[in-house]
Subunit: 344 residues, 2 copies
């Protein structure tokens, strides 16, 4: 049930990005050049695919748009073949992904295990890359935030609130490093002129995460954990050592990173209210939170505390909801970006 809520939310993100992706393919993809060079084969990668079905919707949108574009140029559209590379970390459940694949499907399907913070594909072998709801996860917890002797120690919170300078800098530094690695790897793998669509969560410029609904969610989570530590159910040191490897950039932060990297042109960019918008529906939001964080908490604290914990979380969220107004600034943003690989 919790998983369904999360899936519905992520599906919404895929739907919200459909228009910008279709338009980008119609306006920007030089399909004749790309496919002539690779024997009428069009190769698509979805990075952070999870186990479906949202990755399948996203891929179908892309193929539909490419096929439309191709139809305009060619009399016989059947000659274009699609190969789709579904990528996620090696601990993803690829068995479930493969068994959920649509059948029949208009593409050859392939699974690619490995972190996208590194090379995944041969040089210039992909024509279109897509990643939805994955790029907020860092490759690791930033340095020093778990070190009690460092000014960047983040013992009192489980995430990057954004209001403590050293902690924010440590997270931003890791985010910059990860994005640079990500962009460099993709720049090698995408053909010149190939497109990349990124869908991720972000903050409004100048608004620290702790002022957003996502931040408040993390504060409630952290507060419940400290309550349980006070009651002796879990250890306080364990709570202090938990730091979520997540970063929510502002549009200008990510824009600057892409421009500094220099391998891609930003062709399209849009933002609108993102996943945080379900915050005021306590039941729905509790389900989403549980789907997103149950595994992390189990790994860190063991499975005994989980039921008790999520009961506490739902209660705390409901009890404190009246304190927050519904101004737009509290919403996290969904950032949709379309990049084009510069031709070297």
């Amino acid at each position: 049930m919790a998983e369904m809520g999360k899936l519905a939310m992520l599906r919404r993100a895929v739907d919200d990005a459909k228009k910008i992706i279709s338009e980008a393919i119609a306006d920007l993809l030089d399909i004749e050049k790309l496919t002539l060079e690779s024997s009428n084969r069009f190769q698509i990668a979805d990075l952070g695919c999870a186990t479906g079905p949202n990755t399948f919707y996203a891929v179908e949108n892309i193929i539909e748009a490419v096929a439309n574009k191709y139809k305009i140029k060619h009399k016989n559209p059947q000659t274009l073949e699609y190969q789709v590379f579904f990528n996620d970390r090696i601990d993803n459940d690829f068995n479930t992904l493969f068994r959920s694949l649509p059948f029949p499907r208009p593409y050859f399907a392939v699974g690619v295990p490995g972190s996208f913070y590194g090379r995944l594909f041969p040089t210039e072998s992909i024509h279109f890359m897509h990643s939805s709801n994955s790029l907020n996860w860092l490759s690791r917890v930033p340095n020093y935030v778990g070190d009690i002797n460092s000014p960047a120690w983040n013992g009192s919170s489980i995430y990057c609130r954004g209001d403590a300078k050293e902690v924010a800098e440590a997270y931003l530094s890791q985010y910059k490093k990860d994005m640079e690695t990500f962009l460099n790897a993709r720049a090698q793998e995408l053909v010149g002129g190939g497109l990349m669509a990124l869908v991720l969560g972000g903050r409004q410029d100048g608004v620290p995460l702790c002022q957003t609904n996502m931040g408040k969610t993390y504060d409630f989570l952290g507060s419940c954990l400290f309550d349980m530590a006070t009651e002796g159910i879990i250890s306080k040191e364990k709570v202090e050592s938990l730091n979520l490897p997540q970063y929510y950039p502002s549009s200008s932060e990510i824009e600057e990173l892409i421009n500094t990297n220099g391998c891609f042109c930003i062709e399209k960019m849009e933002t609108f209210p993102g996943p945080g918008k379900h915050f005021y529906d306590v039941q729905m939001w509790s389900m989403i939170v549980r789907a997103g964080f149950e595994a992390i908490l189990q790994n860190h604290f063991g499975s005994e505390m989980v039921e008790d914990f999520f009961e506490r979380y739902a209660k705390k969220h409901a009890d404190n909801l009246f304190m927050f107004d519904r101004s737009d600034v509290q919403n996290l943003l969904q950032i949709n970006i379309v990049l084009k690989r510069k031709v070297c």
Copy 2:
């Protein structure tokens, strides 16, 4: 333990085929032409990869041979990139495969779910195909062998003994159909001039399977099942309806099929004593048999009968071993074939 015995046997098949594959790559692969046309990317597929590790050994052998060949032609061998497509049926455990991948590895790894009796890859996208110990499995149980009203009914045996004309014809007919489908699909996927190495079990010309060690194994298996049916432990109809979808061709049968298909030249072909050679080591052979057939029996009869069954099997095998001489004819063959895709 049983799984280890099977793995060791299959590893032996990979090792036995190493020489012919290395020689084929050295002698026959037009590496300059193949790699120049695809931006220095060399794409390898292993069909029926299971969960490793034997597929990794096979792939490493292939890459080593290709790299050696490439080194002779080029000053900077680092520019050749390898992408390996690990294929097996959709019910294969790809999670285990991916988590067993060597690290670091000199190739980009990809999993491809689906039956190789059908298309798996885009047109002309693979340079080297390999399949070891998989092509004896048919796509399905042949028509009529399970039909009590048909002259091809195979109720008294669980496999194609080869001494009943109609049953043998039904199996051969399915084998021909499957191989034709297999060869046509691969002919489309391999680049012109690309190579395909097939390793499979076979019979000596004119020797029916029931005269080989593999046939005797199946006879023991079937006999134990009928014993259990007589004792009322499993149903007789269930035993009669079990037909293994396996075919062991003779060299001349497979040669004829490849020539009739017409898309490939047979570049190299060799046969030598194959997996049946462990037949006289009762403990080893019982382990191999259990690893190979436990899942099939569980699916057909349920899991309750399995322990009892394999105890009976080991006893029957040991009790009857004295009856058989050790002449070469009783050994199943390992057939190694290297094919080259004709250039259209």
